[in-house]
């Protein structure tokens, strides 16, 4: 499996086909239901399609807001995940996530957890818009640059 990585979606390549949302919901819930996906696509016209997914913020507001200790940071990669068994569905995380990356579920809120590195969404994207990136967590500067690159306009 190698080092843990983050899922990033290159907005400029995304055509909004929604394959990743099906792959994600099937992986997580055993259902082909985009509402259960941890990735959502905001449909667009000229501005293009905008995928919504967790960016694993360095200073994750959701983690600070969660009063149940259900949002945690992985050792090593520093990626942020949601422990569904601990979630009390209070929505504090939704209240503060700038990226609309957390959605309400049934029994727990939902958020991308990078699938422990085995990510069906990456395989599902025919255009290669979804990539796993190796976060150089010791260099925030680098990470910012990488983000810029991936979201170039």
């Amino acid at each position: 499996m190698g080092r843990e990585k983050y899922v990033f979606i290159n907005k400029t390549l995304c055509t909004g086909c929604g394959d990743c949302t099906l792959a994600c919901s099937f992986e997580k819930e055993g259902l082909f239901q985009p509402v259960k996906s941890r990735i959502h696509i905001v449909e667009g016209d000229l501005a293009g399609f905008t995928p919504q997914i967790c960016r694993n913020c360095e200073d994750a507001p959701c983690l600070d807001a969660c009063p149940a200790g259900a949002i945690l940071r992985r050792e090593g990669s520093g990626s942020i995940y949601l422990d569904e068994a601990k979630c009390v569905e209070c929505n504090m995380c939704i209240m503060v996530c700038p990226f609309n990356a957390i959605s309400r579920g049934d029994g727990t809120n939902l958020k991308c957890d990078t699938c422990d590195g085995e990510t069906p969404c990456v395989k599902s994207c025919k255009l290669g818009a979804i990539v796993l990136v190796d976060p150089d967590r010791d260099s925030k500067q680098k990470r910012r640059k990488m983000l810029k690159m991936l979201w170039q306009e």
């Binding site: 600070d64 200790g69 009390v88 700038p98 609309n100």
Partner: protein, 430 residues
């Protein structure tokens, strides 16, 4: 460097985490707490009372070792701080020295419980703040049919829902004419009223508790200011808190309804910092000192304080009132200035759809968002929260109250803006 933190709750957790992630090696961390179980979450106590969570599940954080060092937890009650000796005094006589001190001692209910005789409270009247209060309430429930909750704020209503879930008849007595008078505007609070009333919870508004009736030393009824009486074997107070600063009386630390701190979370005494419900700090929207007693503010303050304790200057952007709750499956979120009385010359945009219980409201002042309400559909609440905090200029407020409008905002510039500036690093480095 020896860092002592008083308290083991929201602000403390966030500070410990930040200190351990800071990359600074030579930290000896000591946490002093009077909680028997460190780091249990007060916010989810209602879920515990209702039986949805076990006591174990209340624990939201477990101390971990970092760089081969494990923070030490001292169980004890702090009775004093002596800045000249750099010492913390405990009730059992122990003295703990520090290089830097971070006070995260939180707040306690401001209402005094009625006494049957000096020092002895009436059996059946409780607070709703600590786990010990829940033990007490649970104990009393066996022979309780009717409960009165004093305070129709968010905490009171969460308590009322829990007691109602346990099959008790609940009446909420609220001083103001509107429920949730700090959390919601009239429209939002009416929605909540209807939902909870449907579940069988009764409300008495614009009234307060005047007296208590007892039978065989146990509460039997409540007398209201209006002259009305209620049967009650249990009364739960959930109305306001005041900062835990008694032990600082002779310390020289400046206190004015909370520990006064600067933008760097430092008190008037060098090397002593404070964070969480115990502080009086700047309000993000008014720039005035304010006492905000919320989880979200406590964790932000804990984080900022931790950096400054280490000597890394990070400025606190200011406290913001915001909260989130779900009643009978309907989610509610509010942030900033939203109360009808506080909105004067501001632009207000609303959207309401009765059928699906969807309500959105945006308040703009000088083209900036200063308040928002989301009910029924809370998507993009976090994006709006960010726009509010970053005080970004908004062109068209109307777009913020429809889903398609919010999607437009997100698509057009939000994602891009976010990626270019690491705005999630909320506290500007100086």
């Amino acid at each position: 460097m020896r860092i002592v933190i008083i308290g083991s709750s929201a602000a403390s957790k966030s500070a410990v985490e930040t200190l351990q992630r800071s990359g600074v090696d030579d930290i000896d961390l000591i946490i002093i707490t009077k909680d028997k179980t460190p780091y249990y979450s007060r916010v989810i106590l209602p879920n515990y009372l209702a039986g949805y969570l076990t006591e174990e599940e209340l624990i939201f954080y477990r101390i971990q070792s970092s760089k081969g060092k494990t923070p030490e937890i001292i169980h004890g009650v702090v009775t004093g701080v002596v800045p000249t000796d750099k010492k913390v005094l405990l009730a059992d006589g122990r003295q703990i020295g520090y290089d830097r001190l971070l006070i995260c001692s939180g707040a306690s209910p401001s209402v005094m419980l009625p006494e049957r005789s000096p020092g002895e409270t009436i059996r059946g009247v409780c607070h709703f703040r600590n786990i010990e209060d829940i033990y007490q309430i649970s104990d009393l429930l066996q022979d309780t049919k009717d409960c009165v909750v004093a305070g129709g704020g968010l905490i009171g209503l969460k308590g009322a829902v829990a007691l109602n879930h346990l099959g008790k008849h609940v009446t909420v007595v609220h001083r103001s004419s509107q429920l949730l008078s700090t959390f919601m505007d009239r429209q939002g609070s009416d929605m909540v009223y209807r939902i909870l009333n449907n579940q069988g919870i009764d409300f008495i508004l614009s009234d307060t508790i005047e007296g208590y009736e007892t039978k065989e030393e146990r509460l039997s009824g409540i007398a209201l200011k209006s002259g009305n009486k209620l049967d009650a074997q249990l009364a739960v107070w959930a109305a306001g808190v005041s900062p835990n600063t008694d032990f600082l009386k002779n310390s020289g630390i400046e206190i004015d309804n909370g520990i006064c701190i600067d933008d760097y979370m430092e008190t008037n005494i060098e090397g002593i910092f404070a964070a969480g419900d115990v502080t009086r700090a700047k309000n993000l929207l008014t720039d005035e000192p304010d006492t905000i007693t919320l989880w979200t503010d406590a964790t932000l303050q804990g984080k900022v304080a931790a950096w400054n304790v280490l000597g890394v200057k990070k400025r606190y952007i200011g406290g913001l009132t915001m909260n989130s709750v779900v009643f009978d499956g309907v989610p509610f979120i509010s942030m900033g200035i939203i109360r009808d009385a506080d909105i004067i010359n501001d632009q207000v945009f609303t959207f309401f759809e009765q059928e699906r219980s969807v309500y959105r409201k945006i308040v703009l002042r000088d083209d900036r968002i200063i308040g928002a309400v989301f009910a029924g559909d809370i998507r993009y609440a976090g994006m709006v929260n960010w726009d509010l905090k970053s005080k970004r200029k908004i062109k068209n407020g109307k777009r913020y109250v429809s889903l398609s409008g919010l999607e437009d905002v997100f698509r057009e510039h939000h994602a891009e803006l976010m990626s270019q500036h690491d705005l999630t690093d909320a506290n500007k480095e100086d």
